[in-house]
Symmetry: C2
């Protein structure tokens, strides 16, 4: 068995290229900012984020990771509607806050059933959708997203799109542009996954100014730390890093999808992002988890996602050598 240091982590969906070069120097330079409270209005941070998102700084919300934004937005509504399987915190955070959570099921292809949505969604509800969705790795097609937003609008409900993985996807549309006139949409993005910075805790979101005002009233003061604030001076401007990552992930995703599709005991779902959901036609997640771990590879068991059972696993798209190793492991370890 491989020891801890040797283990390749396919369970965590982080950019395998690491953070942008130059970030370290920017953070070191910001050291003295630690001794002041973060600007309670995050003026500089909002400017940097709005320049990246292509919106006005009054349309930017911030949080201690995407998770705090999910938490705070949930506080503003009484009832939450989700489609399972989804990121577990769409259910857990609202429930902890005492909100009712209505679970609908994605269809057999992990698509949203508009009929189900139409039946379940009520006035004043918050609909939370991952786009792309974790763990299903599916981005909602533009026309479908448009229909979903229309339904939420008709019902006087609100749509929260969690796009923490946005930059990994093909840019067929930008939901911030798509909904730049919509009053009932909030779109979360984050530094965590794409910029490989889960430790820095920088989440941000787009919404129209009136909603941002409501959000700011309930946000905990100083929740974004000074290093996260400083990082935003650097990461969004590194166009080459952003392009390189997108190309790299696309190539490696295609490599994994092609190689894994040829393995007879796997049903590999298509992916538009940096992770892949797999159904095991033989064995179960526990057997695979143990076999892979013995070979130095950590995979994600997927039965912890409501709506999936032990026949599912999720793997990240990593660097080419690691990806070759996991392909070999699928072929030879089991």
């Amino acid at each position: 068995m491989a020891d801890g240091a040797d283990i390749i982590d396919f369970s965590s969906n982080i950019n395998p290229l690491g953070p942008p070069a130059g970030l370290k120097e920017v953070l070191i330079k910001s050291y003295d900012e630690l001794i002041s409270y973060p600007d309670i209005k995050y003026r500089e941070l909002r400017e940097n984020i709005s320049a990246y998102l292509g919106c006005h700084s009054d349309e930017v919300m911030t949080g201690n990771g995407a998770l705090e934004i999910i938490n705070n937005v949930s506080l503003l509504f009484k009832r939450v509607v989700v489609f399972t399987p989804c990121f577990i915190e769409y259910i857990k955070r609202p429930e902890i806050l005492g909100r009712e959570v209505v679970r609908l099921r994605l269809d057999n292809d992990f698509k949203i059933d508009l009929g189900e949505l139409n039946k379940a969604l009520k006035e004043g509800d918050l609909l939370i959708l991952g786009n792309p969705n974790n763990p299903t790795a599916k981005r909602i097609p533009e026309d479908m997203l448009y229909k979903i937003q229309s339904i939420t609008k008709e019902r006087n409900a609100f749509l929260l799109l969690d796009e923490a993985f946005y930059e990994f996807c093909p840019f067929d549309y930008d939901s911030i542009k798509l909904f730049h006139n919509a009053q009932n949409v909030c779109i979360i993005r984050a530094a965590t996954k794409f910029f490989a910075l889960p430790g820095i805790r920088l989440g941000y979101a787009y919404a129209k100014g009136d909603f941002v005002k409501r959000y700011n009233e309930i946000e905990s003061p100083w929740s974004v730390n000074s290093f996260a604030n400083a990082a935003a001076r650097n990461i969004f401007k590194d166009v080459r890093y952003i392009e390189n990552t997108r190309e790299y992930i696309k190539k490696e995703r295609e490599f994994l999808l092609t190689e894994l599709s040829g393995i007879d005991y796997l049903k590999v779902f298509d992916s538009q992002v940096n992770f892949i959901l797999i159904k095991l036609l033989k064995y179960d997640e526990d057997i695979l988890f143990d076999k892979f771990l013995k070979n130095g590879i950590l995979i994600r068991k997927a039965s912890s996602f409501e709506g999936l059972d032990k026949s599912y696993i999720r793997i990240a798209v990593k660097d080419h050598d690691s990806n070759k190793r996991i392909v070999n492991c699928f072929k030879e370890c089991v």
Copy 2:
């Protein structure tokens, strides 16, 4: 009028000596930890905190600053009782979470009236007290604190002590030792004020294991960033820095209390901490704020604290030169 860079900030109660030397190197060394999620159980962090607090690591709670702990603990109770004037977030965070907040008044000497507490506190309530209290600068005497805890215990209520300023005070007692057998007490401390790190967002608290378990169930995952985690390797071990700060603040606090007590339009309340509450016997906070700002000094208007009016201001204990400057300003600017 002084320009922005020249202004001495007496409104923010941060250790004037700055963070411990050596911290910068520890943070730089931790840079690569940014690319991993913080340990969801904060094992290393809890060990470092528990060694400092003198408790077991299972008795340590963590948060994105003391504020997140106040927030999370409030979530665990239906009704909150506070004594005003107090830190505004003891009222604001529970209300945002939909909790009922009962406000009692401190007496004319800003002491807790046990009779009032006895009348108001009900089964299952959360009592939040600052110790020392902001803005009144008073630490609760040991015998009084003991009585308060007895009352909360009798009522099956819970006591949350916010001791974010603990290290600045004379160590006449340590409430963690005092209540090491109490099941209904949680004691917050924080890196923010004493270690001069408001930008790093490191809050922590002590409670018995059963309560810590309840807290962990509702805590947002990864809310403490990787630099805050790394800082805890350094700051708590710097015994000389801790002693120097305590002596420095004691001397400067006494200097300010003595000098200001001789000024006829001020009623200066005694302080055991690194800030001082002052009642203006002439003028009001707006007049003083403007006059002082014109002389390069920022003071804290205190009417934003429920229970105080425009005749109160709060000032921090800062470095000796700054303290001399504010004393002169009280004597000459007004």
